[in-house]
Amino acid sequence: MKKYILKRLLMSAVILIFVAFLIYVLMRCLPTSYLEQVARQKSMQPGSKSFDEWMAQLSATYGMDKGIIPGFLAWCGRAIHGDFGDSWKWTVPVLEKFNDSVWISFVMGGIAFILEILIAIPLGIIAATKQYTKVDYTITVVALACFSLPTFFFASLLKLVFSVKLGWFDLGGLVGRNYEQLSAAGQLADKAHHLVLPIITLVVINIGYLMRYTRTNMLEVLNADYIRTARAKGLSERKVIYHHAFRNTLIPLVTMLGSSLPGLFSGALITETLYSIPGIGYVSYQSMVAGDIPFSMFYLVFLAILTLLGNLIADILYAVVDPRVRIA
């Protein structure tokens, strides 16, 4: 087991280097260049140096005067020591900006993720056990509707109903107008209140897929021979479904959920933008548009690490739920 994990981690490190290199190359080739923008602005000022001169000076200061490969190696050398540099757009250290924005996304995504599991899996099981009944049809249709709704449309709909018409929530933002005057508990409650609509959006958009996946897997398991054996033993239907069938349904679900864990840190770009929540999805989007290489590099490599870890975790969990899979 230890050996397996070690081997997987080493392999992941190799993959990571290649991924980081690809990202770096792509970032350098982006049509928007932060340096060009700055150089253009500076050269427009009266009595300033020419654009080319500014460009040469800025490239030297920002370390962009080297070719792609030396530039990447320099980045790697610094990254290994944990130094990811300062963000160009936000003019603060990359880690600081990341730390400021990631947790709100994580909390939002985490709550949504737990809610999704709590709602979708039981519904999927119910739909499967009552296949071809009205309950099943209702659940399936609702799931399909959730699945097909575009985020921007559904979010706008929620805003229209709950913010504009009913006035229960603010239209956007993470904190209310009088946030500064509130007590600590009040501030927390205020943030929670602002997160309600984004979380509903995330849950509704994602629930359909997980539910359909659970239903399909459950149906497959319910038709298996060992379920008939369980019934032939005289077990109650509850026990058959929630003990014998459910453990088997978990196997594919765990793989799927394991690999969606990194998604918690990647933020929800569209939802965050629509509700103007300064989460990591929103911040990283702005950084990328501005051509902020240090921040984007850190963020994308961080996601790559999470994805690799997520796969490893899913594989380990797989062995936990399915005795036929043994890690050697």
């Binding site: 369980a230 032939a232 005289g234 077990l235 453990r247 196997i251």
Partner: protein, 398 residues
């Protein structure tokens, strides 16, 4: 319902399918409701055995599947008894309703499509008898695994892959026999049950998962599970089909030995006549959902009378006889959705008579035990047919 499908065999328009499935839902919906009732008074499903010597009596059992293509009459009027302490073999080709008959006894049919629509299955509980077709789910769960248990034909897939062998056997014992017992006592019983079926390393197997065992071992575990609560009736649905011949003999020996030890009845379902000859006291031959011939093993193997039985006997290899090609019964089974009203075997029968064009033949008795559904045994037509034929190979199946 069969009327809809009559026009053009096999082809149904979507409107017809919708209509059929609507009607089906109506029928099955009611039956399902009846099945799922709770707190049903016992009087509703108590009954009397016709003969207290029998463990199970099937009487005119009709088990139908309400599919979108029409109603499939998988079991259509089956009557036979399973005497206490005897082995009864049920033979027939694939899809003739052998398994469905046994699943009806356990109420394990694929619901909601599969339903017992009429007839009786009486189960002898010793002090009382119950009518399975009226028994609701709640009550049935106390009978399954306890009074009637089943050994399935697929040992490779019939054990739950994610639970340990021990836990799976413990579960049955705890459910039916576990009152007041501690976990250790239940474990002890499981180990004993595993040893009883000839698993040497019972302590080790107790901790294993199904995928760590071979097919023969898994079938032993299935048998241990089925016998753990000393059931009165054991249904063995092709217990040896998935196993190779040496293991097959061991498993059959084991079954016979265990049956004698706990004095229960076995309903052995197979299409292997060799297995039947070795195990069964009584034999029932099924064809297309009906019993065509039944009798003692001797009746069937030494004096097979129905042309189908004779065909079956002729289509098995015999040691010491040289043939280039094995005999096979020509033709195919009629469409199960749209059964003819004459003898189902007529079109495949080599001994067809003019009278065979009449309606489905009723049962004729050749002796107290030997019953055949064939016009050739009708005293009225005896002259026409001559004496009922004996099997081409009088040696029978042994």
């Amino acid at each position: 319902m069969a009327k809809n499908t009559k026009k053009n065999e096999g082809y149904l328009s979507s409107r017809e399918i919708r209509e059929i499935s609507r009607k089906n839902r109506k029928i099955t919906g009611e039956l399902e409701k009846k099945w799922k009732r709770k707190h049903v008074p016992e009087s509703e499903y108590l009954t009397q055995m016709k003969n207290p010597e029998n463990a199970v009596e099937f009487e005119d059992l009709h088990t139908w599947f309400f599919t979108d293509a029409g109603t499939v009459k998988s079991v259509d009027g089956v009557t036979f008894d399973v005497p206490i302490g005897k082995t009864i073999g049920v033979v027939g080709e694939s899809g003739c309703g052998k398994s469905v008959t046994s699943l009806s006894l356990m109420q394990l049919l694929q619901r909601p499509q599969g339903q017992i629509v009429s007839g009786h299955i009486r189960l002898n509980l010793g002090d009382k008898a119950i009518e399975i077709s009226n028994t609701p789910r709640e009550q049935m769960q106390k009978i399954r695994g306890n009074v009637v248990s089943m050994i399935f034909q697929e040992p490779m897939t019939s054990l739950n892959p994610v639970f340990r062998i021990g836990d799976q056997v413990d579960e049955v014992i705890a459910l039916h026999n576990g009152e007041g017992k501690t976990k250790e006592q239940i474990k002890e019983e499981t180990i004993k049950a595993l040893e009883m079926v000839g698993i040497a390393n019972s302590q080790g197997v107790y901790r294993m998962f199904p995928h760590e065992l071979s097919g023969g071992m898994r079938q032993r575990v299935m048998i241990a599970m089925a016998l753990a609560c000393h059931p009165k009736v054991i249904i063995a649905d092709e217990p040896t089909t998935a196993l190779d011949v040496t293991i097959q003999a061991q498993i059959l020996d084991l079954l016979r030995d265990l049956k004698d030890r706990i004095n229960s009845s076995i309903m052995l379902i197979t299409h292997d006549l060799g297995v039947i000859a070795e195990m069964a006291d009584y034999v029932v031959v099924m064809y297309a959902g009906k019993i065509v011939e039944k009798g003692t093993a001797e009746d069937i193997f030494y004096h097979p009378t129905h042309p189908y039985t004779i065909g079956l006997m002729a289509s098995k290899p015999v040691v010491g006889r040289q043939t280039d090609e094995l005999y096979s019964i020509p033709g195919k089974v009629p469409n199960p959705v749209n059964m003819p009203d004459y003898c189902y075997f007529r079109d495949r029968c080599e001994k067809r008579l003019p009278c065979c064009d009449g309606e489905y033949p009723c049962e004729f008795s050749l002796s107290d035990t030997h019953k055949v559904s064939c016009y050739r045994c009708d005293p009225k037509y005896m002259n026409e047919a001559g004496k009922p034929d004996q099997a081409p190979d009088g040696e029978g199946g042994r």
